[in-house]
Amino acid sequence: MKKEESLKAYKVRLDTALENTFLRTAMDNFAVAYRTSRENAFAGMDVDAMIQEVADIKAHAIKNNEALLEEFTRKAVANGIHVHLADTAEDANRIIGDIAQKTGSKRIVKSKSMTAEETHLNPWLENLGLEVTETDLGEWIVQLRHEGPSHMVMPAIHLSRFQVADLFTDVTGTTQDAEIERLVKVARRQLRKKYIDADMGITGANYAVAGTGTIGIATNEGNARLVSTLPKVHVALIGIEKLLPTIREALSINRVLSKNATGQAITSYVTWITGPSECKPAVGGKREMHIVFLDNGRKKIAADPVFAQVLQCIRCGACANVCPVYRMVGGHQLGYVYIGAIGLITTYFFHGRENARNLVQNCTNCGACKAVCAAGIELPKLIKEIHARIQDEEGHPLKSLLLGKVLKNRKLFHTLLRTAKLAQKPVTGGTPYLRHLPMIFSKEHNFRVLPAIAKVPFRDRFERLNSPLKNPTHKIALFSGCVQDFVYPEQLEAAMKSFARANVSVTFPMGQSCCGLPAQMMGEKDAARDVALQNLAAFENEDVDYIVTLCASCGSHLKNSLPDLVKEYAPEKAAAFAKKIIPFSQFMNKIVGVEPMEGKGRKTAFHSPCHLCRGLGVRQDPKDLINKSGNCYVATLEEETCCGFGGSFSANFPAVSKEILTKKLADVEASGADLLVTECPGCVMQLRGGALKQGRDIQVIHLSELF
């Protein structure tokens, strides 16, 4: 058993990964290439509908899991297959070890199985004195290096050809050149012997079709075919969530799997085994075939109303492919056995909270994973749920507990912010930036210049800025969020001018508080719910058509998460409130319909806040507004990539946050833009502070400040 890792040790591991130049380049190239490959693979298809279908199929199958397992077992047993049900990982390993011993198997070949990684099958079998050889090239490489896979479908993506050449030189005793084509041939030759000598083959499966008792395995290399054909014994280890009613459902999922995984239309091989198949040297001419179904907590997850959807995962790995943190630090740092966003969640269930505790915090909540998930799993939300659950079980850390307590009490919170304004004077040196960080932040946070708290918050300026209108075109209430209220009131002031020009009447309910997202990000679900209820009360009696916000994170939280948080308290109120929430850009462009104006024609890049493009589905309005402001919108490659802020994420993992930010700014600079516009004060804070610190010639402003 691995020793429990402290958060500090975990951060050291992250730092080491960030310094690994090869890893960084490899991950980066992949992140960029993947986008195009996926887009091409799905070209001309209705991706959303296909993903919805996968989600529906899986959700339905999970509900009927028990019946499907029974049906599969009946069919398979009738066909002459031995079917086992393992309650735990250890049970599965023991069953497979027993099969090996009963059949006198000494040498085992395996094709890649994440489920076998989950149960730590290889070390178990090796302890019994058996020789186990992985036959998937990437998996064999990591096995030889005594590592786990760093990606669910590309296990050795963290390694260079030189590392592989060195490894193969050791294995063969002959010097091997770092030439990929030849290295692949070395594996072909080395592994062929293993297949021939093997007594038993172990595979996983992507599908278990109950109607016919058939398993389906997708591979590119064809290794699962040899593993299930040459040895006299075949054991398939399969999680019970892989059960499906008929081949039709399996084909629907298969149509999405490889497209989403690597941008391939289909894997080179999909093998459907009803078995036991012909095996000439075996007694009776048929292979001895076993299927071990693994529960290992899955039944419990299936019965959990919040987490059941985790089992919809088809193991495509796409959530890692698009994750900004994965891109910086690689899979070994962003997973335990299971990698990526889904790994942050399943580690808790399959490998315990001690292995999930640090991981689950390493998420910017950017939502890229959810947007790409083949099975429509609400990954960011579930990551936060796990975070909250772990804190509930282990006790909340003081920092998050305090934050929760403070946020619950708006007056206390705002008083603290006002006091902070005074306390910061010595450190800001009279400029609007904190030159030296107060001691609550350590040196590693110094990667961006942090702004100071404004002299007068927006809430104290509102009355002066607002002039009541007789016949307004629209009536809105403004939700400011804490950052704009107390740090960037000028962004709201700019918006007020635009509202006045458009004859829009504005109210600002003083009872409004933090949106609650920071509390949720820190696993303080109770506090998040409390402030949600306070905000509902604050806006309850406002007679307005819209609630406009200039903070995409607040907007997305209020529209998407708030109703869920208070569903047992005020579902109707929450629905009515959420319906009115609209981001500034959409309101000005679609509802008000501002006219184009003359401007400086500056080349302007847009940073699309995660919570705007993915959270609220708003993509075009800000770009239209940039052009309408008399400037010239220029596209950037990483427009929708997270800036690395992520609220408490940037405070918890500053080193990772800094690298994500640098990537972002370099991309903007490469576009030739000297003005960078965004629609979230958090992003402004990160990007402006980073541009200043790095001395880049990029001005960062909020969209409202263009007008």
Binding site: A26, N29, F30, A33, A78, T135, D136, L137, G138, I141, M154, P155, A156, S160, R161, V164, I180, E181, V184, K185, R188, R189, L191, R192, K193, I196, V209, G211, T212, T214, N220, E221, G222, N223, R225, L226, S228, T229, I247, R248, L251, S252, N254, R255, A265, I266, T267, S268, Y269, V270, T271, W272, T274, G275, P276, S277, E278, K280, P281, K286
Partner: protein, 209 residues
């Protein structure tokens, strides 16, 4: 769209998508010309690079023989006899259909009649219940698949019933094959032939034949 135009469209789609994953597709008039083509390809390929060291267990059962080895386990008796005769006459190819396990080092070519094609992905569907059929497509360097144009379906889903029948039999082993064995496990660089065939050739037999 009339039936002929529809068929042509499916064939074109199939060829296009199979070519995308670097399968070589040739259209032939009938099975006889398909087998001629296979023999021609076998004779012109580089000799098999045996994966086993000399003297290792299970090396070539005919040591010292310089002939290329072609396996065609799922041809019917008459076609096998015809092809066997042609191979013998060529003087450099030996045709087999049994005991593929005796060739762990690999064979030059596996020739199989495949059951279906799937246009959407350029995929072949092969009933591989027989161990010899299976091994002939795994141990060969070149897999030559012979597909009747009339057996091309639009998508895998559109032939779910046929697939259900194929996989519904006890002992069934059904393979979807799309291109050659491939990997991108080292630096995501595509390499063919990591375990199975180095190349896939599809011989499309025209529907009228």
């Amino acid at each position: 769209m009339n039936a002929t135009a529809d068929k042509n469209w499916l064939t074109r789609e199939f060829i296009e998508n199979a070519s995308l994953i670097s399968a070589r597709v040739y259209r032939v008039q009938d099975l006889a010309s398909a087998l001629d083509k296979a023999l021609e390809l076998c004779r012109s390929k580089l000799p098999c690079d045996s994966q086993m060291e000399p003297g290792q267990k299970g090396t070539d059962p005919m040591p010292g023989e310089k002939l290329r080895v072609m396996a065609a386990p799922n041809l019917d008796e008459a076609d096998f006899t015809k092809l066997d005769k042609a191979c013998r006459e060529s003087g450099d190819v030996r045709l087999i259909r049994e005991n593929l396990r005796a060739y762990p080092g690999g064979i030059d070519m596996g020739v199989t009649l495949v059951d279906f094609g799937i246009a959407e992905t350029g995929t072949l569907v092969l009933n591989s219940d027989s161990e010899e059929t299976r091994l002939s497509t795994m141990l060969c360097e070149t897999h030559v698949a012979i597909l009747n144009e009339g057996k091309i379906r639009e998508t895998a889903l559109s032939m779910a019933d046929e697939l259900n029948d194929l996989t519904g039999q006890a002992s069934s082993y059904t393979a979807f094959i799309t291109g050659a064995s491939r990997t991108a496990d080292i630096e995501r660089v595509l390499a063919l032939g990591v375990h199975g065939p180095l190349e896939l050739v599809i011989l499309l037999v025209e529907a009228s034949s």
